[in-house]
């Protein structure tokens, strides 16, 4: 009797675990299947290297969107990661208990705000602010507004994962370092952060995945123009004032009106996004593994 319950439970658990595998597989299969006409008609290489996307003129290049997604993700990481890591170190090592009790729930609350609300905030607050930067061609809509919105959106993910990995560093490391005469700051910087490095890295990669996949908030602030982002002035940083379109935004903006090859090309955009996220996740695993091994060698 007992054995039977054991076996049934084992099967039930296995089915629930494998159903997610099945779902990933089926979604991947379906997206790929729908994208075949586009890849056949346009050619995968053409699609990836062509800058012009004009479905009305049979031009289906997604290079500009790949650049848009890449740059906005880079921007959000540049802004969001230092902020999130600072927050995590503060919560794990510095903050008095009562203060952490205020900060932590607030950060967690950030994760609960629907992305369309972030988009709205970006549209009515950030975009006019960014528009204040006096550069010809700057409309406020563009990579900078999008990066800032995205940085705030990935902050809670990175902060909470990084914090828990910092907390999991054995207390003896900290005490040992202090006993050797290191200051508190030296200990955090030289001992705790390196020891938690693999967890921090996976936190950043989780944030990266979230940034690549964000859609609705991006559509609302990035301008959605299909152009290669380029610097508006001599300063290369002004590229972030350029409008752009993300891969996710391309699908969401156009799918409701798309038919035929156009529709298939949007699915192909989804396949590219799928592959990009797989590359990010795989390289994250590689990085994690490398850092773990590096840690052991020490």
């Amino acid at each position: 009797m007992k054995n039977r319950v054991e076996n049934t439970m084992k099967t039930v658990l296995m089915i629930s675990a494998l159903s997610s595998v099945a779902i990933v597989f089926l979604i991947g299969f379906f997206t790929l299947k729908e994208s075949i006409p586009a890849f056949q008609g346009i050619g995968p290489l053409n699609m990836l290297t062509e800058k012009v996307w004009r479905p009305g003129q049979e031009a289906y290049g997604i290079l500009a969107m790949i650049a848009g997604s890449g740059l906005v993700t880079l921007g959000s990481v540049l802004i969001g990661v230092p902020l999130a890591l600072g927050c995590a170190v503060f919560l794990a090592e510095v903050a008095p208990r009562w203060m952490a009790g205020i900060v932590r729930p607030s950060v967690e609350l950030l994760a609960g705000i629907p992305s369309v609300v972030y988009g709205l905030f970006g549209m009515v607050v950030l975009v006019p602010l960014v528009r204040g930067i006096e550069v010809a061609g700057n409309t406020g809509f563009g990579l900078l507004s999008a990066s800032v919105v995205l940085a705030v959106m990935i902050l809670p993910t990175i902060a909470s994962v990084a914090e828990s990995s910092l907390r999991s560093v054995p207390r003896s490391y900290y005490n040992g370092s202090l006993a050797l005469g290191a200051t508190r700051w030296e200990t955090i910087w030289r001992v705790n952060i390196p020891a938690a490095r693999s967890g921090i890295l996976s936190a950043v990669v989780l944030g990266l995945g979230r940034a690549l996949g964000e859609t609705i908030a991006m559509i609302m602030v990035i301008g959605n123009s299909v152009i290669m982002p380029k610097a508006l002035t001599g300063n290369p940083l002004s590229v972030f004032l350029s409008r752009a379109r993300t891969l996710t935004g391309n699908i969401a903006v156009e799918i409701s009106y798309a038919t035929g090859v156009h529709e298939s090309a949007l699915f192909a955009t989804g396949v590219v996004l799928f592959i990009l996220i797989m590359i990010v996740n795989t390289s994250a695993r590689g990085l994690l593994k490398a850092s773990l091994e590096g840690g052991r060698r020490r």
Binding site: T139, I227, Y257
Partner: protein
């Protein structure tokens, strides 16, 4: 062993569920088209025509309590496709039907139910009040990039547009940009009429195009070739940017569908069209 059996059953069920999906739809469509007299009409397509179709449907349902009219959106292209492949009995399109669409679905019949004007609008701070058709084309194609090139102050022009595939954009491109010119690629694209209006009203130097139904005081209208964008000017032909709102059937309509379409083009139906802010057919 047992686990494997259960798993494979589950996978088969999932696969079967995916594989079968298109079939029930096809059956439904078949049942609907043969049972047109049962009094249910499915209408799919342009989100510009949708609100009008809903009101016209309610009015017809009030007159014929046994009739149910179900209206859903999806866009003009979806409207033509749905009517052509039979997944809906009536498709809606807020633009002319393309020759490629007639080639794909040779059986479709187009019924114009109303006309709609498209106004050129600008952010209220823009001082330009009038443009010619050629100037409009140059602005939206990106050939002209500063208001001082069309008699305004030195201020960059920010073009705001709908996304590719939108019926409003399709009609605008056909009417204003013509065959050769393409929409400026630096245009800010927004995925709905409402978002275009908000963006245009808040971005200095912005210019956009909007269906008459979406005009409000947050944006200023610009006259084209000397004609203000008003229903009267569209009716007398002086305002050039207008388009038909179409219903599409696969083959000549019969039964309830024909009855509804003739109600729409009747005096009563056209009175509703005018009351909803659109322009009657002739």
């Amino acid at each position: 062993m047992k686990t494997a059996a259960i798993l494979s059953t589950l996978l088969l069920m999932l696969a079967a569920a995916c594989g079968e999906q298109p079939e029930p739809v096809a059956e439904d469509a078949g049942a609907d088209s043969t049972a047109a007299l049962s009094g249910e009409i499915s209408v799919v397509g342009s989100t510009t025509v949708q609100p009008l179709a809903e009101v016209l449907g309610e009015a017809f349902e009030a007159l014929n309590p046994d009739v149910t009219i179900i209206v859903s959106g999806g866009g003009s292209s979806v409207g033509v496709k749905s009517a052509g492949d039979g997944s809906a009995q009536i498709g809606m399109a807020s633009r002319h039907i393309k020759s490629s669409e007639f080639e794909e679905f040779p059986g479709i019949v187009v019924h114009t139910i109303a006309n709609d004007g498209i106004a050129i609008v600008a952010e209220p701070g823009v001082t330009v009040d009038a443009l010619t058709m050629d100037q409009c084309r140059d602005i939206f194609s990106g050939a002209v990039t500063n208001w001082n090139q069309v008699g305004g102050p030195d201020m960059p022009i920010i073009v705001v547009s709908r996304e590719e595939g939108s019926g409003t954009r399709g009609a605008f491109e056909e009417l204003v940009l013509g065959e050769e010119a393409l929409m400026a690629e630096s245009a800010i694209l927004q995925p709905s009429n409402g978002a275009v209006r908000t963006t245009c009203s808040t971005t200095p130097g912005a210019v956009a195009y909007l269906s008459f139904g979406y005009l409000d005081p947050s944006v200023k209208t610009i006259s084209v070739d000397g004609a203000e964008p008003t229903p009267e000017n569209v009716a007398n032909g002086s305002y050039p940017v207008s388009r038909p709102l179409n219903m599409i059937t696969n083959g000549e309509p019969e039964g309830v569908i024909a009855a509804w379409l003739s109600f729409i083009t009747s005096e009563d139906g056209q009175a509703i069209v005018v009351a909803e802010g659109y322009l009657p057919i002739n």
